[in-house]
Each structure stands twice: as structure tokens, then as C-alpha cells.
């Protein structure tokens, strides 16, 4: 017979209910039995009546149930308004403030030591600053003590000596000077001693028609970003290593790009004719391992475009975006390296 549906037929239901009650009675009797065992055991072990003593004590410690008083019969804030005499300063202090007062009065505890330390520190600063300020009238204008200021200034300057920010900003500046495209990493690993005075006019012209040629103020290096007359992607490998002139000769690969900056127009047009004759090889790893001086020399040797010199000088200042990339011949490069070395 199913028992899921509660409203059963009469006899079944009563039987069921009877069963339920029987089960319940069993459980209750079980509980009682457990209790009896517990009590009996306690009685036989002698620990049943332990919470009862003689009548007198029972009366004495009876639970108090009056208002305004706790169960022990004690008043709650009896000691709040009392005053105690401090053994140190002999003053009368309120009871609730007594402990903190003692802490400060006797000089023990966390807060009092902290205050004392602070006072000592400020006193030191004060005495120090006073002695300095007598000598340095300028520093009298400072609101805070000279010692602290010196410390702070020193710390600040120490902080930023070798931070990556510094070098990063330098590099970034160099990059900007070289190209406004700014996406390629132009590296300037050649000798920092380049100056345009050492190069002849031909060399300078050829140099500047092929590369940017701007000398950074910070690193004193010349930007070797090649010019792009043919529109070839500028993202070529423009790594300029200058280990040796001989090795570099073999590695020089310049490309012609069509885009020519306005300032360079005269020189680059002249040199374009010469550069076009040499087909560039793209995507070679050590493609441009050259000083800009060396590269310019090579280009100049090949093209002999003297007109580029004057306009190239302008290019130094104006930051042209794209430049031609002329091919460089080997022999002319060595001559320029000699100059540099």
C-alpha cells in the first residue's frame, strides 16, 4: 500500500498514525532510559549531589534576581565615580581614567614612549636647524628645517640616478630626433666621436642623403636611420654595429625607397638615380651595420651627389620622415672609418 498521499482511507490512516505514535513513544522512552542510566551512574560514583553543599553556603551564594544588581548582588557601576590617588603625582584621578594616567605619569606603556621619542627627535631637529640657519641666511626662508630638507633633496637625487626612466627618456629623445615614424629601433652603436667637420663635403653629402644624420645631444651619436625613396617598409633591420670596417663592407645593404622628405628633395632626387641602380636586398640580418658616416661615404662615392650636402644639413634640423636608402660600396666605407678611428 502506498503511503505517499497523506489523505488515506480511514483504517489505513489510523494504523499509520498509530505506527507513527508508537515509534515516537519508543524514542521518548529511549531518552528516559538514557537519562536514568546517567543519573544512576552518577549516584553510584558519588558525583550526583556535588552541586549541593550545606544549607548555609547555599543561602549565601543564592542567585540574586533584583533590579540594579547583578546575580551576585553587586552593583554595576559602583566604582565609576570613585577617585584614586596617584602614587606618582599625588593627584586624585577618576577611577576610569586611572590606568591611562598611570601609564603617562610613570613613563611606561606604548604611547608614552612614542611621544617621548617624537619629542626627542623634534628637539634634535630644532637644535640642528637653528645652528645651521645662523650661518645660512637663505635657508631662513624655508619653513621646514634645513636638515630635513637636505635629507629629502639628497634622497630624491639618489633615487633617480640609474632609474630606467632616465635612460628610456634619452633613448626616446634620440629616436624622435631621428625619425618621426618612430616605430623602428634605431640603434646608435658607432663611435660617438662623429662630427661633420671631420668629413669632407662629398662624404657629408652622401652621408646625409642616405641617412638622417642628426647628432643627438645626449649621446653625441648620429642617427643612422636610412632614408626611404622607394617606399620599402622602414621596418628593415637597421642595426648599426661597427665592429670592423672590413666586416661591415660585406654587410652593407641599403634599399631605395620612394618616399622623400621635402627638405631632402634636392639631394635625394640626385642620389636616387644612383641608388636605383643598385637593387636592395631586404631582410638580411646584418643589413645595415654601418656608421652613418660610413654609409654616407659609400653613397657619396657611388653617386657623387654634391648637391645633397646643403640640403642635407637642413635635414639635420628638420627631422625628415623618410629617406632614401642608397647602397654603399665597400671601398668608400673604409675610408670613412679611418676618419672616425
Amino acid at each position: 500500500m502506498k503511503m505517499e498521499d497523506m489523505p488515506l482511507s480511514g483504517p489505513d490512516n489510523t494504523r499509520l498514525e498509530a505506527l507513527v505514535h508508537d515509534i515516537y513513544s519508543e524514542l521518548v522512552e529511549d531518552a528516559c532510559l538514557g537519562l536514568c542510566f546517567e543519573v544512576h551512574r552518577a549516584v553510584k560514583q558519588g558525583c550526583f549531589f556535588l552541586d549541593e553543599t550545606d544549607q548555609e553556603s547555599m543561602k549565601e551564594f543564592e542567585i540574586v534576581d533584583q533590579p540594579g544588581v547583578d546575580i551576585f548582588g553587586q552593583v554595576y557601576n559602583q566604582w565609576k565615580n570613585k577617585e584614586c590617588e596617584c602614587p606618582n603625582c599625588k593627584r586624585l584621578i577618576a577611577a576610569s581614567r586611572f590606568a591611562p594616567h598611570l601609564e603617562k605619569c610613570l613613563g611606561m606603556g606604548r604611547n608614552s614612549s612614542r611621544i617621548a621619542n617624537r619629542r626627542l627627535a623634534s628637539n634634535n631637529n630644532m637644535s640642528k636647524s637653528e645652528s645651521d640657519q645662523e650661518d645660512n641666511d637663505d635657508l631662513n626662508d624655508n619653513d621646514w628645517s634645513y636638515g630635513a630638507e637636505k635629507k629629502a633633496k639628497k634622497r630624491k637625487s639618489d633615487k633617480n640616478q640609474n632609474s630606467p626612466r632616465r635612460s628610456k627618456s634619452l633613448k626616446h629623445k634620440n629616436g624622435e630626433l631621428g625619425s618621426s615614424v618612430g616605430s623602428e629601433p634605431y640603434k646608435y652603436n658607432y663611435n660617438p666621436g662623429i662630427s661633420y667637420e671631420t668629413l669632407g663635403p662629398d662624404e657629408v653629402r652622401s652621408l646625409l642623403t642616405t641617412q638622417c644624420g642628426v647628432i643627438s645631444e645626449h649621446t653625441k651619436k648620429m642617427c643612422t636611420r636610412p632614408s626611404l625613396p622607394d617606399g620599402d617598409p622602414v621596418g628593415e633591420s637597421n642595426i648599426f654595429d661597427i665592429p670592423d670596417g672590413q666586416t661591415l663592407m660585406g654587410r652593407l645593404q641599403w634599399e631605395d625607397s620612394p618616399d622623400i622628405s621635402p627638405t631632402d628633395s634636392a639631394s635625394s632626387k640626385a642620389s636616387t638615380n644612383h641608388s636605383d641602380s643598385r637593387r636592395p636586398k631586404k631582410k638580411k640580418t646584418p643589413s645595415l651595420g654601418l656608421n652613418s658616416g660610413g654609409g654616407g661615404g659609400g653613397g657619396g662615392g657611388g653617386g657623387g651627389s654634391l648637391s645633397g650636402g646643403s640640403s642635407s644639413s637642413q635635414s639635420n634640423i628638420s627631422l625628415p620622415t623618410k629617406k632614401k636608402r642608397p647602397k654603399l660600396s665597400a671601398p668608400s666605407i673604409t675610408s670613412i672609418y679611418d676618419d672616425l678611428n
Binding site: 505506527l19 508508537d22 515509534i23 515516537y24 513513544s25 537519562l35 536514568c36 549516584v43 550526583f48
Partner: protein, 95 residues
């Protein structure tokens, strides 16, 4: 009535096998302690013991005295809850 007795036996067996009996026992004990039934019963025991004498009191004595009073003193809420649980168990598991 053997059918009924058989049914009862089955129910009891199921109750024990599934651990429901133990659970119900614990539940009842906890509830009775909570509501103060146990302390009341203990006080009653004390009186019984004092009557019978500390040395010679037996478990049966206590049981006889305690059980009727115990059954009567169970609070209604506890009783209702237990009955409810038993019914639910039967509804769920009895066939």
C-alpha cells in the same frame, strides 16, 4: 494482523538500517536538553533518590518513576516535530 505486524517490522527495520532511528534519537535528546526537560527530570530524580536512599537506588526504580513523568513533560513543539519527521520518513520510504 500479521500483515500489519509484518509491515511494522519492515518499517522498523528500514528505520534502523537507514540510520534514521539514530538521527531521530539524537534530535530528540538535543531538543529535550535545550528546552530544559533534562534538568527537570534530574531534579525529579534527586527527589526519588532522596526518598529511596542513596545507597540502594536502582535503575529500575528510577525508570519506573521517571518514564511517566518524562513522557508527560515533553513539550508539544518537540513532540510535533518528531511526529512530523517520522511521518515524512514513512511517506518517503515505506511501500
Amino acid at each position: 494482523m500479521s500483515k500489519e505486524s509484518r509491515m511494522r517490522a519492515t518499517v522498523n527495520q528500514k528505520l534502523t538500517e537507514m540510520g534514521e532511528r539514530e538521527r531521530l534519537k539524537e534530535l530528540l535528546r538535543a531538543k529535550l536538553t535545550e528546552c530544559g526537560w533534562k534538568d527537570q527530570m534530574k531534579a525529579h530524580c534527586k527527589e526519588v533518590i532522596k526518598d529511596k536512599g542513596l545507597e540502594h537506588v536502582t535503575v529500575e526504580d528510577l525508570l519506573v518513576e521517571i518514564t511517566p513523568k518524562g513522557r508527560a513533560l515533553v513539550p508539544d513543539s518537540v513532540k510535533k516535530e518528531l511526529l512530523h519527521r517520522i511521518r515524512a520518513f514513512l511517506a518517503q520510504h515505506a511501500t
